[in-house]
Amino acid sequence: MSVTPFIVLSAILFTIGAVGVLTRRNAIVVFMCVELMLNASNLALVTFSRANGNLDGQIAAFFVMVVAAAEVVVGLAIIMTIFRTRRSASVDDASLLKY
């Protein structure tokens, strides 16, 4: 079982996630795209774990998941706050601070 296809897949997913962050306007979807990026990273970590023959990668993936969980809580809380204030989940609407 080769390694390269997994890594390529993870790279593709990561890129899609990143592009999603740039193009989507709904804050929640943007955040989902970030999660996609993290997932892609996890795939890479797990794959490299297999390639290297140690479990550090899996551990790292585990930590990433934990972190992601915490991040989601905080992130969604912030997004909710903004939504309740502005009645909009579009990231573009929060653009008072500029220049």
Binding site: I28, M65, V66
Partner: protein, 249 residues
């Protein structure tokens, strides 16, 4: 490897769905597809523990949280596909393609040789092996993640929890207040009249009729009145008339 080749296209398509789905809910669902597929890949890659965690934490918890929030925000809300920032989309796509190509070509060129595989690492079972590393080498990191979780909880509390600033009024106090209002301002004491109930109209946007045939304003929600979606009495009466006329004819 067959599993991979089946899942990989599905995952890419699902991931692209994240880019193109107009409704956030759809995006969340495609993300779920990616995540579950990912869990399967973990299984393929000798990571049964992560398979479980992926299903439980990511798909089960995180994604559900997303969906909850989406529900709060409004399930029906859909993104406009018109890009408002000039040139943004084009540049994004160019940069994205450039980045993706660089990354993909970069990693694709790497010859990994044959993977070492996790047979030796997992010989006592994946989960005990992970546990061993996690609680020795990474025990510090593991402990510190608790700080993250507390932060998250605290953060959610701070931002979302509305503390009651005044003691909850008792029934007696409320009753007294109503009486006072009636006395001072003449506020209607009893419950408000219900909406009108007619043969063809029994929704909340239909006003009740007072004995003189006019609409009872208090019988409908002020919100609806403000939106202008209240059915007017003549409209209703026309309907009624039609019904009556039908009988007549």
């Amino acid at each position: 490897m067959i599993g991979f080749w089946i899942l990989a296209p599905v995952m890419v398509v699902a991931a692209l769905g994240l880019l193109f789905a107009r409704k956030a809910v759809h995006a969340a669902l495609t993300l779920a597809v990616v995540m579950i597929s990912l869990a399967v890949l973990y299984l393929i890659e000798d990571a049964p523990f992560l398979f479980a965690v992926q299903i439980i934490v990511y798909t089960g918890a995180i994604l559900m949280l997303f969906l909850f929030v989406l529900m709060l925000v409004g399930v029906d809300a859909s993104d406009s596909i018109v890009e408002t920032i000039r040139g943004h989309r084009l540049v994004s796509i160019i940069v994205g393609l450039g980045f993706g190509l660089t990354l993909v070509l970069g990693v694709a060129q790497v010859s990994f040789g044959s993977a070492v595989g996790l047979v030796s690492a997992n010989k006592d079972g994946n989960i005990p092996a992970i546990a061993k590393i996690l609680f020795t080498r990474y025990v510090f990191a593991f402990e510190v993640t608790s700080a993250l979780l507390i932060t998250a909880a605290l953060g959610a509390m701070v931002l979302a929890h509305r503390e009651r600033l005044t003691p909850k009024p008792t029934q007696a106090a409320l009753a007294a207040q109503r009486m006072r209002d009636y006395a001072d301002k003449g506020t209607h004491l009893g419950p408000l009249p219900p909406p009108g109930v007619f043969a063809r109209h029994n929704s909340v946007d239909t006003p009740a009729l007072l004995p003189d045939g006019t609409a009872a304003e208090a019988s409908i929600s002020r919100v609806l009145a403000a939106r202008g979606t209240v059915k007017s009495v003549p409209e209703i009466s026309a309907d009624i008339h039609e019904l009556e006329g039908g009988e007549d004819s």
